[in-house]
């Protein structure tokens, strides 16, 4: 089932008199339960890709269908709603609200859906126990380790039951042991049926994914189904 379909998507920025072609004609289809990595060196268009996919930004031209909806025609507030309903963000720097504890952070996206407090709390507790942080709900972000913070962020992404989980260098700020833990969690989430898109420049991270899309100069350079992962998945 097609979840994401980009048709000739272009994103140009004007930098003074120069036009930067961050994305220059992208065509890609992402299916449900894909486990996909965007890789590429800096300047390849990965971040712009993420912004477009995450509905944080609109393409200059081309079409973006997310879950059957035409997204590129929506205004800022409608994009907010799409982000809230369809996308779970996981950032490199976690991006938790510093004054809110773990539970409040996870409940936050539900506020924008007007979910009542009791139900919000139940859903957040469920998401937090999914990432193994049930006993840390009243900790502030600065009282948690990096790995724990990223788990809270993952719980926040999961709590809305989004169509896609969008991770931007999710292990960039973590040590190698925590990186493994987080990637294992990603693997599990994939097995549970979630669709994951990971943007990274680290090959080890990309190797976890089942499909690796390499970008170069705003275009898709290669799109390969990883063999090792496929064997693991079928095993």
């Amino acid at each position: 089932m097609e979840l994401i379909k980009l048709t000739d998507v272009k994103k140009y920025y004007e930098m003074g008199s120069q036009v930067v072609k961050a994305l220059n004609g992208i065509d890609i289809v992402v299916n449900k339960n894909d486990y996909l990595a965007f890789i590429g060196s800096s300047g390849s268009g990965k971040s712009t890709m993420l912004n477009i996919l995450g509905c944080l930004d609109k393409p200059t031209s081309g079409q973006y269908h997310l879950n059957g909806k035409n997204v590129e025609i929506l205004d800022q507030n409608e994009l907010s709603e799409i982000r809230n309903l369809e996308i779970g963000f996981i950032f490199q720097s976690f991006n938790l609200l510093p004054r809110a504890n773990a539970l409040d952070n996870v409940m936050q996206p539900l506020i924008y859906r007007s979910v009542g407090f009791r139900q919000r709390k139940n859903m957040a507790m469920e998401a937090l126990s999914r990432v193994g942080l049930k006993d840390r709900i009243d900790h502030l972000p600065n009282q948690l380790s990096g790995g724990q913070r990223q788990r809270v962020a993952i719980a926040r992404a999961l709590v809305t039951h989004p169509s896609i989980l969008l991770a931007d260098e999710p292990t960039g700020n973590l040590d190698s042991r925590t990186t493994v833990e987080i990637m294992q969690l990603f693997d599990q989430l994939h097995e549970e049926g979630h669709t994951l898109i990971v943007v990274t420049h680290e090959n080890e991270i990309a190797q976890h994914c089942h499909r690796i899309v390499e970008m170069k100069d705003g275009k898709i350079f290669s799109d390969t189904i990883a063999q090792r992962s496929k064997i693991e998945a079928t095993a």
């Binding site: 907010s80 982000r83 991006n95 924008y112 859906r113």
Partner: protein, 408 residues
């Protein structure tokens, strides 16, 4: 909508509490502004309520006539006078008058002696009619009688303060006090009447009018005051204009000359006081509302800083689905809450200040905050919060999520 409001209020509260000191300092302008308005209003409010009460006790249908000398004439040594002849004229030809009495104040030393005690007091020569006009009654003994006046008896009716100052017994009737070298027998003690504008109305000695005339001796001409009360059906203005023309005729005033006397009612006095107080309050309130404006600008300033500081948070909230109105509402409510809190604190401290002022000035009426002033203070600070909160809130709501997320 209500849901969003509730959630925004929650996070606004959290934001204010997270920066307690800064929040307090931010609202300080509002606090000081509201506190000064309320302090002023509470003190003058107490005063005018009190003035209303005390003038009502003077009797609302009584008139006082006194001579009036313009300042220029006073410099030339000319003095206007009201004479016993004027009194007689009014008694004969005045209409709508229930009772009338002359009042002759001692212009020399008004020292009183009782045993080793001395005291100073207002000594007035008047008649039995004063009782009706001034609505004052005796607690012990009797009031002045007509016969006392005719026979120029050396008797006195005293006020409560005089009794106290001279250490007279609880019931001072039949005691003798010395006044201007003469002995006066006390025949009555007046009921306590309280203060008007911090001046005691009980420090008073009433003696018969003719006795007073004789004490004052053979002064060429005496200047008396006249107090009168009206019959229930009489119209105050009609009586006033009739008395004015009577006295103008008697004093041979031509059309272009000003009155050399003043007819005043208790109500007029009260209105004058109220007017002065009202103007004073308005002026001070006007000055102070400038400080509210400054306070509002302070809030706007800090809110703008706060938006910049929390740019990343705003980006996060937008990324996970906050719409513009969520962010707008949160910051607007934060500004509103800040200024309302400031207003409430200012209200309380202003009332406290007013109490402090009125308690520390002797005989000053207690402070009272009229409801309209409290509502106005809170309403105005809320208004200031919304007006000065709009700009920072709009700035926050219009942030681009990508830029905001990238903000360090």
């Amino acid at each position: 909508m209500f849901f969003a409001f509730l959630e925004s209020s929650r996070s606004a509260f959290a934001a204010i509490l997270a920066n307690r000191l800064r929040s307090f300092l931010t609202t300080l302008g509002i606090i000081i502004g509201v506190a000064s308005v309320i302090a002023v209003v509470s003190v003058t409010g107490g005063m005018s309520a009190f003035i209303g009460d005390s003038f009502a006790s003077l009797g609302t249908n009584s008139l006082t006539i006194q001579s009036y000398t313009p300042f220029e004439d006073l410099m030339k040594g000319i003095r206007s006078r009201l004479t016993p002849a004027d009194l007689e004229l009014i008694e004969k030809r005045g209409e709508g008058i229930a009772s009338i009495t002359p009042i002759l104040e001692a212009n020399r030393s008004s020292q009183l002696k009782y045993g080793p005690q001395t005291a100073y007091s207002l000594i007035m020569g008047t008649t039995y009619a004063y009782q009706d006009v001034a609505q004052t009654y005796t607690e012990f003994g009797r009031f002045l009688a007509q016969a006392d006046n005719i026979t120029r008896r050396r008797i006195a009716v005293i006020g409560e303060d005089v009794r106290e100052n001279l250490n007279l017994p609880e019931n001072p009737v039949n005691e003798y006090v010395e006044l201007s070298g003469e002995w006066f027998k006390i025949v009555g003690l007046l009921e306590p009447m309280g203060d008007v504008m911090g001046q005691s109305r009980d420090n008073i000695v009433l003696v018969p009018y003719s006795t007073m005339v004789s004490i004052l001796g053979n002064q060429a001409q005496t200047d008396i005051g006249i107090q009168l009360s009206l019959t229930p059906t009489a119209n105050l203005e009609v009586v006033t204009s009739q008395l004015t023309s009577l006295l103008r005729n008697a004093h041979d005033l031509s059309g272009s000359e000003d009155d050399d006397f003043r007819i005043q009612t208790a109500e007029q006095l009260m209105e004058q006081f109220d007017q002065i107080l009202g103007t004073l309050t308005m002026v001070i309130a006007g000055i102070v509302s400038i400080s509210l404006l400054v306070g509002g600008i302070g809030i706007m300033n800090i809110m703008l800083v706060s938006v910049t500081e929390r740019t990343r948070e705003i980006g996060i909230c937008k990324a996970i689905g906050a719409k513009s109105h969520h962010i707008l509402m949160q910051f607007l409510i934060e500004a509103l809450l800040l200024s309302l809190l400031g207003g409430a604190i200012g209200l309380a401290s202003g009332y406290g200040l007013g109490m402090l002022i009125s308690n520390n000035i002797p005989d000053f009426p207690p402070a009272s905050v009229p409801l309209w002033a409290a509502a106005l203070a809170l309403g105005f600070s809320g208004f200031v919060g919304v007006v000065f909160g709009i700009l920072p809130a709009a700035k926050a709501a219009n942030l681009d999520p990508i830029d905001a997320l990238r903000y360090e």
